[in-house]
Every structure is written in C-alpha cells, then in structure tokens.
C-alpha cells in the first residue's frame, strides 16, 4: 500500500508540473501577450514598452522558470488589472467556488445514489425508465441555459430564491442545482449498473438464502460494494464541477474563482488566468489521487495493477 501511494503521488506531482508547462506555453505561444495587453489602440512603441515592463522580451524558458520559482512558494505575481497579488485574489474568491462545488456535489450524490439504487431494484419498470429519462435529460441540458431557466422560474416568476450574489445560503441553492445536475447522470448510471451487477452475484444470493431481510441485503451487502466506484467518480466529478463553475458563476454573478478567471480572460490579466488554471487542475489531481487511494484501500485488487 505504501509503495502504491508513493507511486501515485509521484505521478500526480509530475502531472501537475506538466500542466503548468503546457498551460504556460499555450498561453504564451497562441498569441502575442504584449499586443493583447496593450489593446488595439496602442502604438508599436507602447507594445514594446509593455513587452519589456512585463518581462515578455525574455526567452520563454526563462519566463517559465521565473514563474515556476514563484509558484512553488505560492507567489503567482501581481495581477495586471487589480492592485493586488494573484494569491490574495485567489484566497479571497476560493471559498465561494468551494462552497458551490461542495453543495453541488452533496446534491448530486444525495439524488443520484438513491435514484440509481431504486432504478436497479425496480429494473425495467417505470421507475427505472423515469430515472433513465432524468439522466438523459441532464446530459443534454446546456448548463448555462439550465441556470438561466432556473433564474427565470424560481427567482423572477416565483420569487422563491435570489437570482444573483453570494450573501447567504439561499444564493447557493440555484447555482448548486444547475451545477449538480450536470454531475448526476453519470453517478446515477454507475450506481445502477453496480447495483445490478452486485445483486446478481453469489454472495448476495447466499445472503438471501440465509434468510436475511431484504433491507439488510441491499444496504449492508449490495450497496457497500456497488458504491466503491461511485465514490471515485464523485471525486472526479467534483474536480470537473470546479472547472465548470466558470459558466455557472458567470450566469449567477457569483464572485468565485470561475468569475475571477473569466474577468481575467476578458481583461488579458494573464498571471491570474495562469494561476487559476493551475489551481483548478491541482484540485482535480488531488481529488483523483484521493479517489485512487481510497479505492485501493477498499479494493486490494487495484493495488497490484
């Protein structure tokens, strides 16, 4: 187990490093940053001045190593737009995105797992079909449009919940639904398949033959085994949701990391863009690492792979 964790941590760290290189290179090579920052009206001299001021005239490898040296000590430099360091901005916005992601995940888990279990138990009945419909609709719904629709229905027409802002828990309900629905179909389907597989296995037949009550069989024996891959998927989905929160935060004017990233992108504030991309990727890497380790702890067969 120790070597397994050690190997996985090494891989995770090198993936993080690779992502920092790739995202840095992509941003610096896909356009001329100095021209973008200077804006369309700038003269050639102004562009050159900006290039020198921001250190963009240096060889790209030096620029990257400079940036990496800072990043390792959590110094992502200064924002081009705000009078503040990138770290301060991120620390300031992070709680909102994490709250949103956490609530959305809690919602998704508390809907998809019971629904998946129910669909498996009532296989091929209308319950199963309804659950499938729920999943199919969720997979096809554009999240930004679903968010806007929630605003029109629940915030404007019914006036149950606020449409924008982040002052209280009420503000997180609609965005969390919009974000969480996105993660529900995959988890629901995986729970259903897992349950179907487990319910047909020998040990469940034994448990039933022993005369255990159906409830005990389902929850103590079947669900505990079926849920292992779902836990791993939930971690991965949380990572995706943190990345996808840029869309939901912009729809609901939540001032989180996603909104920060979007503002930074439209203002050519590259130090911020770079840092947010890396941090969202780090979250994903850590979450998948945890899921891997948890999986290996629960299922020894995985460790030998």
């Amino acid at each position: 187990m120790g070597t397994f964790i050690f190997r996985r941590v090494l891989v995770a760290m090198s993936v993080a490093l690779t992502i920092s290189i790739v995202s840095f290179m992509l941003l610096h090579l896909s356009g001329d940053l100095a021209t973008s920052i200077a804006g369309p009206e700038a003269t050639a001299e102004q562009v050159e001045q900006i290039r020198i001021d921001y250190g963009l005239d240096q060889p790209i490898v030096n620029q990257y190593l400079d940036w990496l040296g800072g990043a390792l000590t959590f110094d992502f430099g200064h924002s081009y737009y705000y009078q503040s360091t990138v770290v301060d901005l991120i620390v300031d916005r992070m709680p909102i995105t994490l709250t949103l992601g956490g609530v959305a995940l809690a919602l998704a888990v508390s809907i998809s797992i019971p629904l998946g279990v129910l669909a498996a138990l009532k296989r091929d009945t209308w319950v199963d079909r309804l659950a499938l419909l729920f999943a199919v609709v969720g997979q096809a719904m554009p999240s930004f449009w679903f968010g806007l629709t929630l605003i029109v229905v629940f915030a404007v027409t019914l006036q149950w919940l606020p449409a924008a802002g982040s002052d209280g828990w009420q503000h997180f309900v609609l965005p969390a639904i919009a974000l969480g629905y996105y993660a529900t179909p995959a988890m629901m389907r995986l729970t259903r398949t897992g349950m179907l597989e487990v319910l047909e296995s020998d040990y469940i037949r034994t448990a039933r033959a022993k005369g255990l009550r159906t409830g005990a069989v389902i929850f103590k024996h079947a669900l505990r085994n079926a849920i292992i891959p779902v836990v791993a998927l939930a971690a991965v989905e949380l990572g995706f949701m943190l990345g996808g929160s840029v869309v939901i935060e912009s729809v609901f004017s939540l001032n989180g990391l996603g909104q920060l990233a979007w503002d930074a992108i439209s203002r050519n504030d590259y130090p911020v863009v770079q840092a947010v991309v890396l941090i969202i990727a780090l979250f994903y890497i850590v979450l998948t690492l945890l899921a891997d380790v948890a999986n290996a702890a629960l299922d020894p067969r995985i460790r030998t792979r």
Binding site: S14, L27, M141, S143, F144, W145, V152, G258, Y284, I285
Partner: protein, 311 residues
C-alpha cells in the same frame, strides 16, 4: 437465423418501450437490421431528429422565411406566433435587432452540426491514434501515452478553451480547432482498452505470423474491430463539442456575432429574458433537442454494439 433472432428479441424486450409480452415472430432476414434499429425507440427517435437536423442544415436557405442577418429595427422583439401579439410573419418572433428567430435557428443548425462533426473527426483521429498505439504496444509506449491522457484529463477544458479562444480571437475555425485538439481523451481511453483486448486475438496473431506490416495490422485488423466502439464515442463527443461551443459562444469567447450560433442567441437574449423569456427558451430548447437526439443515437448504437446491457 434462429439464434440471432431470439437474442434480438430478448434484448429488445428489455428496452424501454418494448412490450414484455411480445411474441417472437419469424422475421425475414432483410428486415432484421431495420427491426433492430426501430425496435429500439430511443435509437429511432435519435436517428429521426438528427436526420431532420442534417436536412435542415443542408436546406436552410430554402427553408428559412427570412434572411437570418437582415436587421429590421422597426420590428424588434416581436413575440412568437402563439403569443397574443405574435404573427405568422415571424413565427418564432424576432431578436433585439429585429432579425427573424426562426431563420437564425435554422441557419444555426449548420454551425452546431459542423462543430460537432469536424471536432469529433479531429479529436477522433488524434485520440484513436494514441489509444491504438498504447493498447497495441503496451509497455513503455502505453506508459507514455497514458501519462499524456492523464495530463489532458486534469486540464480544465472550459477554462483552457476560454483562455485560448480569447487569445486567438474567437471564430468558428479557432473554436473547431481548439475543441478538436482538446476533446480527444475519451477516444484515446476507449480505443486503448478495446485494442488491449484484441492485441492477443488469434487473427492479429495470424497476421503477425504471416509477416503483415504494422500499418496493415493496425488499419486492417485492429481498426475495423474497434470501429463500433469508436462510433459510439463519436456521437458522445459530437454532443459534447456542440454543448461546449454553445457555452463558449454564450460566454462571448466562441463564435462571434452576427453568426447565428445558438449559444450566442441565448447570450444576446439574456438581457431580455425576464419579460420575453422565449428569446432564451427557443435557442436553448433547440440545443437541448439536438444534443438529446445525438445522445439517444449514441446510447442506441452502444446497445446494438453490445446487446448485453443498457449501460
């Protein structure tokens, strides 16, 4: 004939919508394929809607009642026909610049389908190449390619695509290239695992023993056998790409005005959604229906590919 017929009936009896008491009738061989397709309701609906969308995209100039770019400030924000103030001149109403919504919607089908098809093609070529090589050779090649896949999966697609689209100046072509270069992961994962399963198959072994060249083995022996799985992934990635393009365009970094991208139509209607909700409802529903149909098609094809289970 009897065995395949029975298995087709058994598997179709478990599908949603198929009645359980269906008596297996002898079916002539020629209609077995159509029966398998239309016995599956989701697949049939998906096929019909996607087929319609393709026809609409091709014949958009003939079908559209107005020029989708023609602005008519005197007739802006006209409500759709079912509304009290609606009229048959603009069946689905007009937008803030007085452009006909139905015409823009019809032309928008072209954008969504082009994005879906070309992105799935580009990412399919990249992902399948990587996946087949990793699955066939295993060992160090597999380790390197798996590492590339892991790295790609950890990159937040929406954020990276937004940032790059903004830098390169969003346009239809940049969006297609960006998404094509980003969305190959599922192709790689699937083709890798399917190729692994057939690396030691007897026909591959036979081809190797006969001295067939590597490209021959990969293209003529391996590829045809993973094509079924790849087509399923292709539909899923088309749907994914269409949604992402709409998202990028909605956030202002994708396809640029005045092109009638559905995501852009939602963005342009956002300011009016409180009092004229149809301006965002109509393009949103179009997007939803197209993606739903493509997903149904993919799910149905997956069932035909592996009739064992629905998931």
């Amino acid at each position: 004939m009897t065995t395949s017929n029975v298995s087709a009936t058994v598997s179709s009896a478990r599908r949603p919508g198929a009645s359980l008491g269906e008596v297996p009738l002898p079916v002539p061989a020629w209609s077995r394929v159509t029966r398998r397709i239309f016995g599956h309701r989701g697949l049939a609906i998906g096929l019909i809607v996607v087929g319609l969308a393709v026809l609409i995209a091709i014949f958009a100039p003939l079908l559209a009642p107005h020029d989708p770019y023609h602005q008519d400030i005197a007739n802006r924000m006209v409500p759709p026909v079912w509304h009290d103030k609606g009229s048959w001149v603009h069946v689905l109403g007009t937008d803030k610049l007085g452009r006909d919504t139905l015409s823009r919607l019809l032309f928008g089908t072209r954008i969504s389908l082009t994005i879906g098809l070309v992105v799935a093609l580009i990412s399919g070529i990249i992902g399948t190449t990587l996946g087949v090589l990793a699955g066939y050779f295993g060992g160090r090649v597999d380790a390197v390619i798996s590492y590339i896949i892991t790295t790609r999966l950890a990159m937040p697609v929406v954020l990276v695509a937004l940032a790059l689209a903004s830098l390169t100046g969003g346009s239809l072509i940049t969006v297609i290239l960006l998404l094509g270069l980003l969305l190959w992961d599922r192709f790689a994962v699937v083709s890798r695992s399917v190729t692994q399963q057939m690396r030691d198959a007897e026909y591959v072994y036979a081809a190797r023993t006969l001295g067939c060249s590597l490209p021959y083995i990969l293209l003529r022996e391996v590829l045809p056998n993973i094509a079924g799985s790849l087509i399923v992934v292709m539909t899923l990635e088309m749907a994914h790409a269409i949604l992402l393009e709409a998202t990028l365009s909605f956030l202002g970094m994708g396809v640029q005005p005045p092109l009638p991208s559905w995501g852009l139509m939602v963005a342009e209607g956002k300011a009016y959604m409180f009092f004229q909700p149809w301006v965002i409802a109509i393009p949103g529903i179009a997007l939803f229906l197209l993606v739903l149909a493509i997903n149904l098609l993919g799910d149905g094809l997956r069932d035909l590919n592996a009739p064992g289970g629905r998931n």
